[in-house]
């Protein structure tokens, strides 16, 4: 009788398919960020002028909001493993609420750009900015719905999957924030 060989993937925390999704999303956003910086080389003054119209402090606040939301999701997983359903639901509700705050601040930035006549087609900077941050915002919205679903299921496995997706959204933002808003 043969013993099954241990795979390095056995050590992977959480569901393998969620990690496949996380890696896929990171690859898409990573390519987008590299494309953004590559196109910036063709018009540095234009990109700098366009970036000045963004809310960099608001984006910094949004980073604080999202990493705090990720912290609540991580605590929710600990509560799920401890069998504390009410606590895990409260923590996931807090994480989702902060996701809503993030989307509200993001919508304000889009509204201000729109009011200033700056759209998707105004400059390559805005094309990349709206594609990258808009796609990310869609993931935040999907993550809020997913947190609601796993909060309803309230099992450790479900909460682990939902929290992993939420942390991926968090991870993408901490890489996107300096590239699009600061440098």
């Amino acid at each position: 009788m043969t013993t099954p060989q241990a795979s390095v993937l056995d050590d992977l925390p959480g569901d393998l398919m969620m990690w496949v999704l996380i890696l896929s999303e990171l690859a898409v956003f990573g390519a987008g960020l590299m494309g953004f910086l590559a196109v910036r080389l063709t018009d540095p003054p234009g990109f700098a002028e366009a970036q000045a119209h963004l809310h960099s402090t608001g984006a910094g606040i949004n980073t604080l909001v999202l990493v705090t939301s990720g912290w609540l999701a991580a605590l929710a997983l600990e509560a799920a493993r401890a069998g504390r359903r009410a606590r895990l639901r409260a923590l996931l509700a807090g994480a989702a609420l902060l996701g809503g705050v993030f989307l509200f601040l993001k919508a304000q930035e889009y509204a201000d750009l729109w009011a200033a006549g700056l759209t998707f087609e105004s400059h390559a900077f805005y094309t990349f900015h709206m594609l990258l941050t808009g796609f990310h915002a869609a993931h935040v919205l999907a993550g809020i719905l997913l947190l609601g679903l796993v909060g309803w299921l309230a099992t450790p496995r479900a909460v682990e999957a939902g929290a992993a997706f939420w942390h991926m959204v968090d991870l993408v933002w901490v890489l996107l924030f300096p590239v699009v808003y600061l440098i």
Partner: protein
């Protein structure tokens, strides 16, 4: 490191990123500093929020991929004439 301590580090690193941009650091130095801070934040999220610290072999693979990606981003960011 607990997730709460990781969160405190993430808050501190984010505040530092925003502060160095706000105090007027610009150009290549700003890019080098804020991308290094983003790298540190990404490692914290991978290892503490996503618990890769519990799987050192996989964590090393992610760390290598992230290092190469950050190197590419930094090269593009500082290549402006």
């Amino acid at each position: 490191m607990s997730v709460t301590r990781a969160w405190a580090w993430l808050i501190a690193l984010t505040a530092t990123s925003t502060a160095v941009a706000a105090i007027g650091l610009s150009g290549r130095w700003l890019a080098l500093v804020v991308l290094a801070l983003a790298w540190a934040k990404a490692e914290l999220i991978l290892n503490r929020y996503l618990h890769l610290a519990q799987a050192p072999n996989i964590a090393r693979g992610f760390a290598l991929g992230l290092a190469l990606f950050m190197l590419a981003l930094t090269s593009l960011a500082v290549a402006i004439p």
